[in-house]
Amino acid sequence: MRLLVLPILVPLGTAAVLLLAPKRPVPQRWISLMGSVLLLASALVVFLRVNTAGIQVLHISGWPAPFGITLVADLLAAILVVAVGVVGTAVTAVAFAGVDPRRESFGHHPLVQILLMGVAGAFLTGDLFNLYVWFEVMLVASFVLMALHRTRAQVEAAFKYVTINLIASSIFLTALGLLYGATGTLNMADLARVWPTISTPGVDTVLAALFLIVFSIKAGLFPLFFWLPASYHTPPAAIGAAFAGLLTKVGVYALIRVLTLLFHSAPPALYALLLAMSAATMVVGLVAALNERDFRRVLSFNLVGHIGYTTASLSLLTPAALAGAIFYVLHHIVVITNLYLVSGVLLRLRRTTDMAGLGGLYRDQPVFAALAMVPIFSLAGVPPLSGFLGKLAILEGTFAAGAYWVGGLVLVVGLLTLLSMASTWADSFWSPAANAQDLATPGTAFLATIAALSLLTVAMTIGAEPIFDLTMRGAQQLLHRDEYVRAVLESRP
């Protein structure tokens, strides 16, 4: 299906147009928004096709797999590309509330589009080396977006972020080299076919461990997550929202893909290790979040902790647990993006996200407070919002798989999340303002975008049944790897 290339081509074209268009803010913002809406539309077309007609494959330039680069969209990839469109539209829409003029003249808008292209490419590719290339596209765009500022905190954060990612890239490349040496192919479907016939326990363990390390760094799992809270709170809210919503999820996606397709018969110790890392991630993330007094840092640690939910479910490799993980990823993308945008409004209103300078917003900005309530309480897991349903799905999956202690831990960490979000809500919105007063209005662009994302969360709550059905089908598709292998290798360009 040729349309499969659209979610990659549309942001690329938009970035090119943005570079050629006049450097004035208004045309740049409109073109960028149009590009994101088109990306969302093309992602929806791909998704609808995959939903009705099964896995879609595109052999680039007519080179059949495994010789050329293949784009593959199964349900998981298609759903996530739609999420890229949603996040892209949200972060380009808030640009209308104002972007730092220096950033804007240095290419803020084209870089956001390149970032979206990298993420969409990573979700759609069917080739591991190509996945590495998309990772780099996405990373270079994120490096520049992070380093565009000159304040000390931002430059330092960018430096840590760049260093850890360059190290991770080297490990990724090492794993790819060894994998190619062992198999002679890097096409994922071809690998899934030949791997069981040639893998030996030693090679299997080394490669699986290398991939686990790389994608754990990208996803932010304990003990490899320390770069994330050290950097994600420094860039402007829209950029933080895009990073938090999409970048760690690419790591989770890559873990899901590699573990379900290649290492499903890896030594059980490896899955136990992933499970232990996920459990530690949940606990450490949320305990650290409780210890923070800055709104954006609380979000960073919540982001880390909740990634643990999804990877813990993934490590069980049962359809129900995997479906719960996918549902939770979708819920989390929408909610965490929204919360970073909320932090942008806080910055506009009070010039700070430190909770000492917040408070009184429930009285002063009732509309904004009502809108912000949805993502805050959804992340906290208050019934009936999508966060509650996501946790319920994960719980069902873990209990059905007999991993009772994981289920128990999910419940305890859920309680910690509730505590973290409730105190954040109380300190930022409810408690009387210490000595602060609002310096600006929230901005219509911010309010409209937050309202739209909150509505989406409510919609995901009401429409949870069909969405859960969808993630269940996606999970079954992931576990029936023959279907994926046949779709790629038996289709002709």
Binding site: F129, V133, E136, V140, F143, V144, A147, R150, T151, R152, V155, E156, A157, A158, F159, K160, V162, T163, L166, I167, S169, S170, L173, T174, L176, G177, L178, Y180, G181, A182, G184, L186, A230
Partner: protein, 113 residues
């Protein structure tokens, strides 16, 4: 030949990691560069070495004759070199800016709050 390249790649990894554990920004970046070159060498070696047999179909034949050098690892290394070069250039500029903003090239002083 494989042994020599394997040792060379190992030495590059070791030197790269050693330099990254030092405290100066410049050494960190040189370390990153060595690490990525060690990786390139590893891909090249792991892909299998065949000397003086380019993968070109001879005149009059329709298929390649074994043994021939596998062109894929070379393509992979080429891509990795280009990406690594760009990233190294970017991190040099970033390190320069860190030095200009923070006023030191000691990694321990970067990010101290």
């Amino acid at each position: 030949m494989e042994v020599v390249l394997a040792v060379a790649s190992g030495v590059l990894y070791a030197a790269g990691i050693y330099l990254m554990l030092r405290r100066r920004l410049a050494q960190l970046i040189i370390g990153l560069g060595l690490l990525s070159n060690g990786t390139n060498l590893l891909i090249f070696t792991a892909g299998g070495l065949t000397r003086a047999r380019p993968p070109v179909v001879p005149d009059g034949a329709t298929t390649l004759v074994e043994p021939y050098a596998d062109p894929v690892p070379q393509a992979l290394v080429l891509t990795a070199i280009v990406i690594g070069f760009g990233l190294l250039a970017f991190s040099l500029v970033l390190a320069h800016r860190v030095h200009a903003t923070v006023g030191t090239d000691d990694v321990d002083d970067v990010g101290r709050e």
